[in-house]
């Protein structure tokens, strides 16, 4: 346990650094949130429409959804299997380039990252303190607090995890936002996803917004009658009634929607109307992406010393 390197700081650096990290994180999140709010295109965009950018004409937009799914999901799998920070950084750069090529407004992927970051920040704090210490590790120790040794390898691991998570989250934008959701799900069905699942996802996405509208109106209805969530038991009962009524309304709507589908000839499956062509360019793009992904994995394994 004595071979590893240690860097000593005075004890007062710990609260100072802690506060600094929290303050920086808070400021970053705040400015990110402001930027996203300012770029919202409609008032009801608390939940972004998945395929809001489907009308574009970029290279990614023109890509056959089936090939796009295979290539980008394949690249995402490669990205998450990387070990070294350098490889992850390259994957992240490639992902950022993809988002740029897709010409998707940046507030959308940033919003996605913002939603994840609260969780990811925990890795930055927990992993350096909990990762098992190895001989080659460098530890930062504040004062005499040996038990609070801050392992830099843990920090590196946390950063790798965050980088991979960002990669996958960012790739979801060119994957899902550059074609109508119906086309993407139809593509998934052609690739073997059960039709019922893709239909359920499609209808769930449509009614998410209707549900949200109902939640907002009912919440307004409660607030208009002086409801303030408190710590009393009454609040729990009121919230229970609220959730119960939402469930009842959703259940009733399910019946009505199904009736409306039947009334227009629904016989168990949604009609397919998206046309997929599978041109040479689609094959080529897919090969390039999969090649890049596999190349990264290969380089990573060579760098980290084996598979």
């Amino acid at each position: 346990m004595t071979e590893h390197q240690t860097i000593h700081f005075a004890a007062y650096w710990l609260p100072l650094l802690g506060c600094g990290v929290i303050l920086c994180s808070w400021l970053a999140m705040r400015s990110l949130r402001r930027m996203i709010t300012a770029r919202q295109t409609t008032a009801d965009e608390q939940i972004p429409t998945i395929d809001a950018g489907a009308a574009g004409t970029s290279l990614i937009h023109r890509w056959d959804p089936r090939f796009k799914i295979i290539a980008l999901l394949g690249f995402a799998f490669c990205a998450v299997s990387l070990h070294s920070p350098r490889s992850v950084l390259v994957a992240l750069l490639l992902t950022i380039i993809t988002v740029s090529i897709a010409r998707i407004p940046w507030h959308r992927p940033l919003r996605r990252l913002l939603a994840m970051n609260g969780f990811l920040v925990m890795f930055l704090i927990v992993m350096p303190l909990t990762v098992p210490t190895r001989i080659s590790d460098t530890l930062i120790i504040f004062g005499d607090w040996q038990l609070m040794a801050f392992n830099l390898r843990g920090l590196e691991l946390a950063l790798v995890i965050i980088g991979k998570a960002w990669c996958v989250a960012l790739l979801m934008e060119p994957l899902l936002a550059t074609a109508p959701l119906g086309a993407t799900l139809e593509g998934l069905t052609r690739l073997g996803l059960p039709g019922k699942i893709s239909e359920t996802l499609l209808i769930a996405h449509r009614y998410l917004f209707v549900f949200l509208g109902e939640v907002q109106r009912m919440r307004s209805g409660m607030e208009a009658r002086a409801f303030r969530p408190g710590r009393r038991w009454d609040t729990l009962r009121d919230l229970g009634n609220f959730v119960g009524m939402l469930l009842v309304r959703s259940f009733e709507r399910t019946h009505r929607v199904y009736a409306a589908m039947q009334a227009r000839g629904y016989n168990g499956s949604l009609p397919h109307h998206h046309q997929f062509r599978g041109a040479t360019s689609d094959w080529l793009q897919t090969m390039v992406w999969l090649g890049l992904g596999l190349g990264l994995v290969l380089a990573d394994r060579l760098h980290t010393g084996g598979f």
């Binding site: 227009r264 949604l270 046309q275």
Partner: protein
């Protein structure tokens, strides 16, 4: 003249499109929705199915599309029962427009949704896309084909739902409350679309003026039975039948003269100090004062711009404007659900972002859709919710609940489940829930939406009896006229007019400004008034009848004719020419002159009380 069901219209040489014989249906909870329905519907019929809430209209409509199975009796479409392959084929020929467009628009873009029907019909993709484009063009939404349904306005969604049906080129259109929650302009757009439809049309609606324009035949349902089946003109001209089934909508004709009770009310203008431009000056008696008030949504949409508004205690005012004019945003700000920029003073309190949520202690609001306000398992809990949030003692809450329920005519409903109440009862329960908080200001957002005429009349009576400052958001001219003394017109977030309700009705410039076009409603009203006018009056006329009578001391009985004067009910037509009437201004109050058609061949057959005791002379 109370004619019970009789089948109409069907020509002998024309096979029935639908034939219903002894059709009955009960829901799993035992509630009988339809009982012994006998009905023939011919191709090309335009039928309004009307009746009070719970009469069985929607259940009947669902049977016509095979959405509910036949439990008892028979139903045939084109000569065959609606089962299996015939049912599948029938659904591709019958379009059903649901009341809530969100039920109907289940795809993620408008184009996908409209394509759904044609593709199920087996059309090739190119033909289906062509049909979609035609249908979207017809409803004026071709530019919104790639938009998600939740990005469309309510009126647009309603039209989009219709486009989904029109793309299937249906033979039959079944419509469930097509005009619910639409503003007058959207209503007229829909009206024109349906007038252009040449197939069979079957429509459920409480909007009888709308039905009068598009339907020729009326089927009146009452507790699951067909009570009347005759031409629409016959129906509207027979006020007794309408009233019996809670459908008498003639009390609400926009073009009718001011009701007597309004005229007898205090005619002193409300305590509004009006500037020459119609605006009102601030003063200490004002309950609500907004100065240079605005509200902008996060995306930059200016919903309210530079509003100056003063409302006195006890005032009754209407806020009108097209959908999206800012009406709901304004009242959301007033009640404290939103916070805008500028000055807002409520009583003595300056409203800020920090204290706006306390506004609901003074201002109550009944939402357009009562379901948004009702979430408790019993009526008692629902009404008690508000007072409980105010921290009132249990005894006071109990007292307030009882008073509020009684006030809205729901005494004894304490243990009933709000979800199981009718639309009218739910609306009144929502009102009771607000009244129990004893607000100084009551805001009503489209209070008549979804109510049948009887429910509307009941609600009107309740609202007139309330002693509060009333703010009414409505497209319903009748309610505006009966309940308010002042009208604000909003347009694109600006307050463009602030004047007396009387001046609002005389304003002929609103149509072009913000599509507050009530032309067709007034035209229908006048036509119906011509068909039906019933009132009491007296005049001298001849009777030819037999009755015991006296000539001095001689008492005897024999047929004879004589002239006398007495008060009686007289059905008659108005002399105003329809063409002339339609040329009149849309919002002007017209009072057509009336007279009586010659009725020499139709002696009066009503009672003449005490007539036998009269001494009179006549030839023997």
């Amino acid at each position: 003249m109370h004619q019970l069901a009789r089948n109409l219209h069907l020509q002998q040489d024309e096979p029935a499109l639908y034939k219903l014989c002894g059709l009955s249906y009960s829901y799993p909870n035992g509630q009988t929705a339809l009982k012994d329905i006998d009905l023939d519907i011919a191709p090309g019929d335009r039928i309004a199915i009307i009746g009070q809430n719970g009469a069985g209209k929607s259940t009947l409509l669902k049977h016509l599309n095979g959405l509910l199975p036949v439990q008892q009796g028979s139903l045939t479409y084109k000569g065959q029962a609606l089962v299996e392959d015939h049912l599948r084929q029938a659904r591709l020929e019958i379009g059903l427009l649901f009341q809530d467009p969100d039920d109907q628009l289940f795809c993620n873009t408008l184009q996908e949704d409209v394509l759904f029907g044609p593709l199920n019909q087996g059309l090739e993709i190119t033909a289906a896309i062509a049909a979609t484009e035609t249908a979207l063009t017809a409803v004026g939404l071709v530019g919104a084909a790639q938009r998600a349904p939740h990005k469309l306005s309510y009126g647009q969604r309603k039209r989009a739902g219709l486009a989904g049906l029109l793309a299937m080129s249906p033979d039959i259109l079944l419509l469930d409350e097509p005009t619910a929650n639409l503003d007058p302009h959207q209503e007229e757009v829909l009206l024109q679309l349906l007038k252009d439809f040449t197939g069979t049309l079957i429509c459920i609606t409480h909007n009888l003026l709308f039905a009068y324009e598009i339907c020729e035949r009326a089927v009146v349902l009452d507790q699951g039975h067909i009570h009347h089946d005759y031409t629409f003109k016959e129906l509207v001209s027979h006020k007794a039948s309408l009233r019996e089934h809670g459908l008498d909508f003639t009390f609400r004709f926009a073009a009718a003269p001011m009701p007597e009770d309004l005229e007898t009310e205090d005619q002193t203008p409300p305590t509004i100090k009006t500037h020459p431009d119609g605006h009102v000056a601030p003063g200490s008696s004002q309950l609500i004062q907004l100065q240079n008030y605005g509200f902008t949504y996060p995306d930059g949409t200016e919903a309210l711009v530079g509003l100056d508004l003063y409302i006195s205690r006890g005032e009754t005012l209407a806020i009108v404007g097209e959908n999206g004019a800012g009406k709901t945003t304004l009242v959301s700000c007033l009640i404290g659900l939103r916070c805008g920029s500028g000055e807002y003073q409520l009583g003595d309190k300056q409203v800020t972002d920090a204290n706006r949520r306390d506004n609901c202690r003074q201002i109550g609001m009944v939402f357009q859709d009562s379901s948004d306000q009702l979430f408790c398992p019993s009526c008692y809990e629902e009404v008690a919710f508000g007072p409980r949030q105010l921290g009132l003692p249990k005894e006071t809450i109990k007292k307030r609940v009882a008073e509020a329920l009684d006030q809205v005519g729901l005494a004894g409903f304490d243990e009933r489940v709000p979800l199981h109440l009718s639309g009218g009862e739910r609306k009144r329960l929502a009102l009771a829930a607000v009244l129990a908080m004893q607000p100084q200001v009551l805001i009503l957002d489209e209070p008549t939406a979804g109510l049948d005429p009887a429910g509307e009349e009941l609600l009107l009576g309740i609202l007139k009896s309330l002693d509060v400052t009333l703010i009414l958001i409505s497209h319903d001219l009748f309610f505006i006229r009966r309940l308010t003394r002042r009208t604000l017109v909003l347009h694109e977030g600006h307050l463009v007019q602030d004047y007396s309700t009387e001046a609002f009705f005389a304003d002929t410039n609103l149509t072009s400004l913000n599509q507050l076009d009530f032309t067709y409603r007034n035209r229908c009203s006048l036509e119906i008034m011509r068909l039906q006018h019933e009132h009491e009056h007296s005049h001298r006329h001849h009777h030819s009848h037999e009755h015991p009578h006296r000539h001095g001391d001689l008492v005897h009985s024999h047929p004879h004719e004589h002239e006398h004067e007495h008060v009686h009910i007289y059905n008659h037509t108005h002399h105003t020419e329809p063409d002339k009437a339609s040329q009149e201004s849309a919002n002007s109050v017209q009072e057509p002159t009336h007279g009586h058609l010659p009725r020499a061949d139709s002696p009066h057959d009503h009672e003449h009380p005490n007539h036998e005791d009269e001494t009179h002379d006549h030839k023997h």
